[in-house]
């Protein structure tokens, strides 16, 4: 028995060692433990629900889905096929066939790769019947967007394939899936896409599927995407896009009583159908790299311009609220406003009132610089020091939704700029500045910057006599309410009573024969508006118009910017009133004007600017 002892001990020790090792491997966590789903044997197969449709406010379909069919190939399974027949079916030659097959083999022999992209629907119909003959080839359906009326590309946005950087931020997606990356497609991505379903498929070592994993215990079903109704009026939008052809700029139209955006136009724009199909990446790059026209840049939301004369309305309202002007106070204008001793300290004015007393009403419809410069200086000097005055002033201005993002449901936006005391303290050192240093703010020049949507929002606020609803783009989502914040009014710091005289002035702009926009008057519609001609460092002045109508119960507020379009009354005024007319009357009667606007082009002006820019570059 003694001699056998070492044998017994060895066997027991080895057994003990094995059990310890197995305990480590199977019970304790170790580097070999991996989760079921990440393991190599189970493949998740996703089921994508159909993406939600997008409609305009009247139920016109803007964005739908269409099927596209790709011919796929699994090289390993290609066996004994009639290559010539397949080539003639697919309308390709054999060299292309061989090239594609080689490419697919280079990628993987066992995994499917695209053989031919997006075959037409009619080709698909008869191909599908014959596909069984060609083992290794099959047809895969993909869902693409479809834009039945090719309008509002900047509003609806587009979808793209998920790339690595999106993947890092959002683990929901897989490489190559689709995600909204601009416009409503982006902001309402979750609503539109729904939730994908997943089926876990058991695979073997060669990646062959051998059935459902655990009889579908972990599978989930997909939840379909929801349709979205926009606030956009597609007719108005389309009309605006036509009017903006060959001009750069933006139009924003808002329904004041709800904050719903009726039209959001950026020009130049693009055909949304360029963003789908075989040529997508080529088209996208072309649009993306166009640094001159910037078609992907939404001028209605992102372009920050000096607001120009329409901003005088804010100056007036602040003056009234602060009590430094009233309906009877007047200023005499002799072609300008002198605010210092030096000859440079003089602001020109084109109101041509020839020294007759200018009161608020006339100041607005004649757009008198002197009157508003005076009001601006007074409303700041009312306070103990310029700092306090400036902050009080900018607080009033900001209550109109200026100088900050609108915090709405649009995918892009810009805050614009309303300067504060701090701003000037940084600008002029040692706080040595006074109201006259930035007197241009009074007439919407100087440091002030607004986006077209902010300007339209000012029009809406005035139309509402003192409050606005945050402009938003989505009107309705199937069985889901729109956000509460879009339904609560934002009140300005200006009392309601001060709005009526200002509105009267704006009405005179169009109505009064001497009004700056009388030329744009529309019979039968009481339009209140304000022209603007904003100086800018790039070239010719921007043509601006801000308006709302009708005067009594406003239904539409609008802002139009035409880059380098000379005076406000040249382009922006007529375009605004045409838009208003189109929206309220459904038709226009000023055919000659309409024709001129539709056909007019500023391309020459833009070319001149570009040439000038290049010359300057050469000089340097």
């Amino acid at each position: 028995m003694n001699k056998s002892k070492p044998f017994y001990i060895t066997v027991i020790l080895i057994g003990f060692l094995f059990i310890l090792r197995l305990f480590y491997l199977q019970v304790l966590d170790n580097k070999y433990s991996i989760s079921i789903i990440r393991g190599a044997t189970v493949k998740p197969v996703y089921e994508y629900p159909e993406r939600g449709y997008i409609y305009d406010r009247n139920g016109v379909l803007l964005v739908a889905n269409q099927s596209s069919y790709d011919v796929m190939v699994v090289p390993r399974e290609v066996k004994n096929i009639d290559t010539l027949e397949l080539c003639s079916l697919l309308k390709i030659d054999t060299s292309y066939f061989n090239r594609q097959l080689k490419r697919a083999k280079a990628y993987s022999r066992a995994k499917p790769s695209t053989f031919i992209r997006q075959i037409s629907k009619s080709d698909f119909a008869y191909l599908q019947e014959k596909m069984y003959k060609f083992s290794g080839f099959y047809i895969q359906r993909r869902s693409l967007r479809k834009y039945p009326i090719s309008t509002a590309a900047n509003v609806v946005g587009y979808i793209s394939e998920v790339n690595n950087s999106i993947l890092k931020k959002n683990p929901y997606y897989q490489l190559g899936e689709l995600i909204g990356t601009a416009g409503v497609e982006k902001t309402y991505e979750k609503t539109l896409r729904g939730v994908k379903g997943v089926k876990y498929i058991q695979r073997d070592i060669l990646n062959r599927e051998i059935g459902s994993y655990k009889n579908g215990k972990y599978d989930t079903i997909s939840i379909s995407g929801k349709d979205i109704t926009l606030t956009i009026d597609s007719k108005l939008q389309e009309y605006g896009e036509q009017l903006m052809k060959n001009k750069r700029g933006g139009i924003v139209a808002i329904e004041p009583s709800s904050g719903e955006i009726l039209a959001l136009i950026s020009s130049p724009t693009y055909n949304p159908n360029l963003m789908i199909g075989r040529e997508r990446s080529k088209n996208f790059n072309k649009l993306y790299l166009d640094s001159i026209n910037k078609p992907l840049f939404d001028r209605g939301l992102q372009a920050m311009y000096p607001p120009g004369s329409p901003f005088k309305v804010i100056t007036a309202l602040i003056g009234l609220q602060e009590g430094i002007i009233n309906l009877n106070s007047s200023v005499k204008c002799y072609g300008g406003y002198r605010y210092g001793k030096r000859s440079r300290a003089f602001m020109k004015c084109h109101c041509r009132t020839m020294g007759s007393p200018v009161r608020l009403n006339k100041a607005i419809y004649r757009s008198c610089n002197s009157y508003f410069a005076d009001a601006y200086v007074k409303s700041i000097n009312k306070f103990k020091n310029a700092e306090k005055g400036m902050d009080a002033w900018s607080k009033h201005a900001k209550s109109f939704g200026l100088g900050d993002y609108l915090h709405n449901d649009l995918s892009v936006g810009q805050p614009g700029l309303i300067p504060t005391a701090d701003f000037y303290n940084k600008y002029y050192q040692n706080n040595r500045w006074r109201a006259t240093y930035h007197i241009s703010n009074s007439i919407g020049q100087g440091e002030i910057l607004t986006t077209p949507i902010q300007l339209a929002n000012i029009a809406a606020t005035i139309a509402n006599r003192g409050f606005y609803y945050t402009p938003h783009i989505v009107k309705k989502i199937k069985d889901k309410k729109i956000a509460e914040k879009f339904k609560t009014p934002n009140h300005t710091t200006i009392d309601k009573k001060h709005f009526e005289p200002v509105i009267e002035g704006l009405f005179q702009v169009v109505e009064n024969p001497r009004g700056t926009a009388h030329w744009s008057k529309v019979k039968g519609i009481e339009i209140c508006g304000k022209t603007g001609t904003s100086e800018n460092p790039h070239g010719q002045d921007h043509s601006i118009f801000m308006a709302f109508a009708p005067k009594k119960k406003p239904k539409i507020a609008i802002a139009v910017y035409i880059e380098n379009g000379y005076w406000g009354s040249t382009w922006a005024g007529p375009i605004s009133t045409l838009m208003i007319e189109k929206y309220l009357n459904k038709e226009t009667y000023r055919f000659a004007l309409e024709k001129r606007m539709l056909e007019g082009s500023l391309e020459e002006e833009y070319k001149r600017q570009l040439k000038h820019l290049e010359e300057e570059k050469d000089k340097k």
Binding site: F7, L17, Q26, Y32, S33, G39, T41, I205, I210
Partner: protein, 426 residues
């Protein structure tokens, strides 16, 4: 005689038989799990691997009956004949053998393949038992030692030439048995020393090893030289110590040489893998897949036919050498530890049976059976759980294959038969 024949089941060790049956059952279930999903039809398919294995199990029954019916003395008397037949079968491979996976280890007759090395284990065990049974034979005697070594080396060399290093290694395990029968301990010590040197050479390289062992030898000699009481010892032994050192150097150099020039790249990879050195992904693939599969089983496993890695054929050779992974995945730690414990009990039982034999032939044979099962158990499971280099030998009764099943069955039941006769022995 007649009495014996009428009671062939008399005195049988039912514990061993019961464990044998349990092993066959568990083994067949594992094979079914690994191979059934590759069949297209849902029904039971006799032509599939699990079907064939069932046929092999069936064939075992008459073999067992024959083994039990034959007189005990028969095995001892014809042991030399069996041994020679075994050698002839091994030699015949060089003429008629079929090459499968790079090794000429099989005879093939019409779809049935036979691996003679599996039978050679039994015949060699019988032969060594017969050799040691000779009353004049003593393992203390140098000449007799050489006889025993030769007897073991001939089949192992023939198998090594196939080449089938795994099976050849099994024959080296007979040295353990010789130790039980009186082979001087220093052989084992030298063996262990050589094994350590072998591993050390691979881990730290020949140059450093020669230098460090040289320093150790020098220190040892200095100690003897200047320590007064040991001076005599020094005078007597210093030459021996130097000779040992010299042979160590030769051994180290030859290990390095064999490793670099004789072993194939895949052998080197397997050693490097265990020694923690970097090897390419292909070499580690099998080992890694095996470990992931076993780890994925967890405590209680995924259930019979539910192992996704087993069902997906993720582990090459899973129905043969890597069968233990499917047990690991589908039955978890509970399953694997039960199998390990069963094997331990099984081997201990065989040792106990060997020890209770009065005849030396039966005892030596019993030990032979024990060391063969033990070696297969240690190397196979050790390899699968990643603590022994990859050496392809089957897990007895579990791995798919007729030859090994019949070989192990014969091996075991000859012992059972010998054991039934223990009371009649001297």
């Amino acid at each position: 005689m007649r009495n014996d024949r009428q009671h062939i089941f008399k005195e049988i060790d039912w514990l061993l038989v019961a464990m044998y049956v349990v092993f066959l059952g568990l083994g067949w279930m594992a094979i079914y799990s690994v191979t059934s999903h590759t069949q297209n039809s849902e029904s039971f398919e006799m032509a599939s691997q699990y079907g064939k294995q069932l046929i092999w199990i069936g064939i075992n029954i008459p073999i067992i009956l024959v083994v039990l019916m034959v007189d005990s003395k028969f095995y001892e008397r014809y042991a030399s004949v069996f041994y020679l037949i075994g050698l002839l079968l091994l030699l015949g491979l060089f003429l008629l053998g079929k090459n499968i996976n790079g090794a000429t280890s099989w005879y093939s007759f019409g779809g049935i393949t036979l691996q003679p090395s599996e039978l050679a284990k039994t015949t060699t065990a019988l032969a060594i038992a017969k050799l040691l049974n000779d009353r004049l034979f003593s393992l203390k005697n140098f000449g007799n030692q050489q006889q025993a070594f030769l007897l073991l080396l001939i089949p192992s060399m023939l198998i090594l030439l196939q080449p089938d290093a795994g099976s050849a290694l099994v024959f080296f395990s007979f040295f353990l048995l010789l130790y039980r029968e009186g082979l001087p301990t220093y052989y084992i010590l030298v063996g262990i020393f050589m094994a350590i040197l072998f591993l050390a050479t691979l881990i730290i390289g020949q140059l450093y090893l020669i230098i460090s062992t040289g320093i150790l030898t020098g220190l040892l000699l200095l100690y003897f030289r200047f320590y007064k009481k040991r001076k005599k010892l020094f005078k007597k032994h210093w030459l021996k110590v130097l000779l040992i050192y010299l042979s160590t150097i030769v051994f180290i150099l030859s290990v390095q040489f064999i490793f670099e020039n004789v072993l194939k790249q895949h052998h080197r990879n397997r050693f490097n893998l265990i020694l923690g050195k970097e090897v390419n992904a292909d070499a580690s693939y099998n080992k890694k897949q095996a470990l992931i599969s076993i780890a994925s089983g967890g405590l209680s496993g995924k259930g019979f036919l539910q192992g996704d890695r087993t069902q997906g054929s993720f582990i090459p050779e899973q129905e043969t050498d890597y069968i233990f992974t499917s047990i690991g995945e589908e039955w978890g730690f509970l399953g694997t530890s039960v199998v390990v414990v069963l094997f331990v009990i099984f081997i201990l039982r065989i040792i106990t049976i060997a020890e209770r034999q009065k005849s030396k032939f039966s005892r030596v044979y019993g030990y032979g059976v024990a060391v063969i099962f033990f070696t297969h158990f240690v190397i196979n499971i050790g390899m699968v759980i990643g603590i022994v280099p990859t050496i392809g030998i089957p897990l007895p009764f579990f791995s798919y294959g007729g030859s090994s099943l019949i070989g192990f069955t014969t091996l075991l039941f000859i012992l059972i038969k010998l054991d039934t006769n223990r009371k009649n022995e001297l």
